[in-house]
């Protein structure tokens, strides 16, 4: 089988670096190293950090074994090992062993208390992977370096980053307008946020203009000094800061190209993509930038209405005005401002990747370009379709192109899957169904929350998806091509796509009941309005009743849905504090008993054991037994009863 082998890099094109082709390996390594370390010695200015508020200190209890167990449970056995060739599969039995686990926990605790990261964990190997869909692969920039680290060190990194994720969201250091790299903040959230702004803007007769910008070589050019200052601002204590300074110093790197490996290079900038820290550290790096931007916008003499949204290295400037001239001015000045801030922190914006787009519902709307010549950029011309975070937006937001793109993609996947089985041989129908549900449905429905809400035009999109599901059902059951759709869908056990969308959408709405209070979506909802947060111009609460009634937006649906929910959530309750959870300390004193199997013999043995345990608690004065049971009535109400047995007496 050819397709399971390691994929080789394209060999036809020579890599050009500074106008010279790389003819030998040495030149190639130098080209790679210098382009992935181009941010080395870039000057930075940290003076604006003074204006950022210092966050509350984070307390950092010692690590517990359970955290490591949780971390390793999420690791894939198939992921590539680091220079020592130890995979997660090898590490797993060690972590399950109690003695080994204690040693690992001790090492991790020592790392933090001493503020030291062992050299063995710093060794890294950089694998060069081509970025997809490039027209030409003749510069190092068309490739992405993925860092492979030793798994042992990576496990400790994972535990630490898990804690950082929790604490930084809990103490409010991260900015709500910054999505990505943080748990519970997804691309869909960014999409829904934008969708609401646009629809609400239309309500108030404003069109929405956006500029998307991109940061060149984002991860490899993060500056370590600046990062340490950010970490201090985030409220980490001295030990952890010392740990991170040590973590970043004296790092070495080897590059691998197909089967060739380079000598060691020392690196002094950047966070490797592949380290467990890279998402959270990049988020920490961006926070002061966004906070400063917002502050500067506010402090300007002339008022500028512009909003910023950032998804790791994909940024977005939003302006919502009635006239195009005004919004162009606002976008230009905010673009200029963010450019200056990025230059200060050692990041370079890639001007030719910036895009402008105007959303409007008007007939024959103007589509002005934006001239960035005066600040060193090109003239930005709006395209008919704008692609951002994998969504395809058009000006009227009907998402026909988006759905068409994903449906076509999935139909071609289905065609390819026909190799795996047909109506006579190959995979069994149940396996085909599983394949469809796991590999196709999530892809084809990506971003459906953006166009599937009450009052949105969905007919054409759903028809397109139905066609796709019809094909899938034909493949699963092996029926005739003209077979009736609903019949074969039911036989294949697939819900009609419109009902399936409803189900997923409902689940998605409920998810917003559990998001942290500082989440961007919360700043738009009217019910869980966070008092400290700056109110956005187009929140649900800011609309009049009449406008609210007319408004169509996903946020409106979410808000209506959440009003019916009783539960209030607190994702940062101390019970969920990593290191202080119930399982972290008492897992050996909470014991579960259940019979070995449901065979009669086993049940009998188990029953006598249960009797024995019960009698034991009744004999001693210090034991208590609780017998509980719950039942549900057809009306939807549930009843539960508990008997508490103590000294052979029962109380309800």
């Amino acid at each position: 089988m050819n397709w399971v082998k390691k994929k080789n890099l394209p060999t036809i094109e020579a890599i050009y670096h500074e106008g010279q082709p790389c003819n030998n390996l040495k030149a190639l390594w130098n080209a790679l190293h210098s382009s992935y370390n181009s941010a080395d010695n870039r000057a930075i200015s940290t003076r604006f950090l003074d204006g950022i508020n210092q966050c509350n200190d984070i307390d950092w209890p010692p690590f517990t074994g359970q955290e490591f167990k949780d971390a390793i449970a999420k690791c894939s056995n198939a992921s590539s090992p680091g220079p020592d060739h130890v995979t997660w599969r090898h590490l797993n039995p060690l972590i399950l062993d109690k003695m080994c686990l204690n040693k690992v926990v001790d090492i991790a605790n020592a790392c933090i208390t001493v503020g030291y990261w062992p050299d063995q964990f710093k060794e890294s190997m950089s694998v060069i992977i081509p970025k997809p869909n490039k027209t030409s692969y003749n510069t190092p920039k068309a490739f992405r370096p993925i860092v492979l680290l030793n798994t042992m060190g990576k496990l400790i990194e994972k535990v630490i980053s898990n804690r950082l994720q929790f604490h930084l969201s809990a103490n409010g250091f991260l900015n709500p307008n910054q999505l990505g790299g943080i748990r519970q903040w997804s691309t869909i959230d960014a999409g829904i946020y934008l969708m609401h702004l646009i629809w609400a803007g239309w309500m108030k007769e404003c069109h929405t203009s956006v500029i998307a910008f991109d940061i060149a070589q984002f991860f490899p050019s993060l500056n370590h000094d600046f990062l340490s200052l950010c970490l201090a601002k985030a409220g980490l204590n001295a030990n952890i800061l010392k740990f991170f300074i040590n973590y970043h110093s004296n790092r070495s790197m080897t590059y691998t190209w197909n089967n060739f490996t380079s000598q060691k290079f020392t690196t002094s900038v950047g966070i490797g993509q592949g380290s467990a820290f890279s998402p959270i550290l990049s988020a920490i790096y961006l926070t002061p930038i966004i906070k400063t931007f917002k502050k500067r916008i506010k402090n300007l003499k002339k008022e500028i209405h512009a909003d910023i949204l950032s998804f790791v290295d994909d940024g977005l400037l939003i302006s919502q005005e009635k006239s195009y001239d005004l919004s162009s001015v606002f976008l230009f000045s905010s673009y200029n401002m963010i450019l200056k801030i990025f230059t200060d922190v050692g990041l370079i914006m890639e001007h030719n990747k910036s895009e402008i787009f105007h959303f409007t519902r008007a007939q024959n709307p103007p589509n002005p370009s934006l001239d960035l010549m005066s600040i060193g950029g090109p003239v930005l011309h709006p395209k008919p379709i704008w692609r951002y975070l994998g969504f395809f937006f058009n000006r009227k937001l009907n998402f026909h192109q988006h759905v068409h793109h994903y449906a076509t993609k999935c139909i071609s996947t289905l065609n390819a899957m026909k190799m795996l089985g047909n109506s006579l041989r190959g995979l069994l129908p149940m396996q085909k169904r599983l394949l469809y549900r796991t590999c196709i449905v999530p892809i084809v429905l990506y971003g459906f929350q953006l166009w599937f809400f009450k009052g949105a035009p969905t007919v054409k999109n759903i028809a397109e998806l139905k066609k796709m599901q019809h094909r899938a059902a034909l493949w699963i059951t092996g029926a005739f091509r003209m077979s009736p759709t609903e019949g074969i869908e039911a036989i294949a056990g697939l819900m009609p796509i419109n009902l399936h969308l409803k189900k997923l959408n409902g689940r998605h709405h409920l998810r917003y009941a559990t998001i942290p209070p500082s989440h961007a979506i919360n700043s738009l909802l009217d019910i869980h309005q966070n008092k400290n947060q700056i109110q956005h111009k187009f929140t649900l609460a800011s609309l009049t009743d009449k406008q609210k009634l007319k408004l169509r937006s996903p946020i409106k649906d979410i808000s209506e849905r959440l009003n019916k929910i009783k539960d209030k959530f607190d994702p940062f309750h101390s019970i969920f504090h990593p290191g202080l959870r119930l399982v972290d300390h008492f897992s050996d004193r909470i014991i579960f008993h259940s019979p070995d199997s449901s065979e009669n013999e086993d049940l009998f043995i188990y029953s006598s054991k249960l009797n024995l345990a019960f009698e034991e608690t009744q004999k001693s004065s210090k034991g208590v037994a609780i017998i509980s049971d719950g039942s549900i009535k057809t009306s939807g109400s549930a009843t539960a009863i508990a008997h508490i047995w103590r000294d052979n007496k029962v109380t309800n």
Partner: protein, 251 residues
Amino acid sequence: MHTSNITPLEAELMVIQIGVVSVLESAESHKIIVITDTLEASKKITSSDDQYLQKSIIPIAENIHHFLGKDGHNSIHFWYCPNKLKWPRHALVNEEAKSSHGLLNLPEKNSLLFSKKKECDLLLESWQKSFKDSQKKGQLFLDFEDNNEKVIKPTYAKGGSWLPHIGISNSVCTRFTCIMTGHAPIGEYWQRFFPNSPTQCPCGEVDVQTREHIFMQCRLYNAALCPRDICISSFIEFVVGNPTSFCFDNG
């Protein structure tokens, strides 16, 4: 203890919470055993990643935390007691829970897990309802009964309603789908969609070869396997036992 609009899982957790609290309040105890018929609920207490049950978990976890932190020898045991075990003391509780009545007035607000479940049920119901009267499922769609003599309704859990029965092999699945939808290589179908092609059965007894004829009368197939009722399993037996039924001549 009565509550409304929550799921059994949450009710179970709630009652464990009440039990634990009253034990903690009243006396010095060192060992608690909890006997329950859903171990799933108790296991949720120790896992922190279930967002939906958070509300029910927090108070219990706090109490257990307090209890276990008080003394190094304190411990809590959860015993699984399935209804099948018929353990007398648990059976008593079970009986009582079933006989007691819930509140009559339903609150407007629901718990998160309840609304999640409720919505799925509603959607499934609307699918089953629309499927029953639908024209688009095929005019000749055959409804079967399951082993309990109930008409099979569509579902999506665990492979749907039909696939687990007919998914034994690709060939059976294909031919059975053909039978159910009526889109099968038989005379009836040729007559409907290709009027110029021959429609009689190869056995020569009937002019139009129908599904009924193949199942009940045709002498080309094993008569011993003729389905006696409209239960799906007897039809599957027929299809499995006659590998040449409902397929093209060359297949």
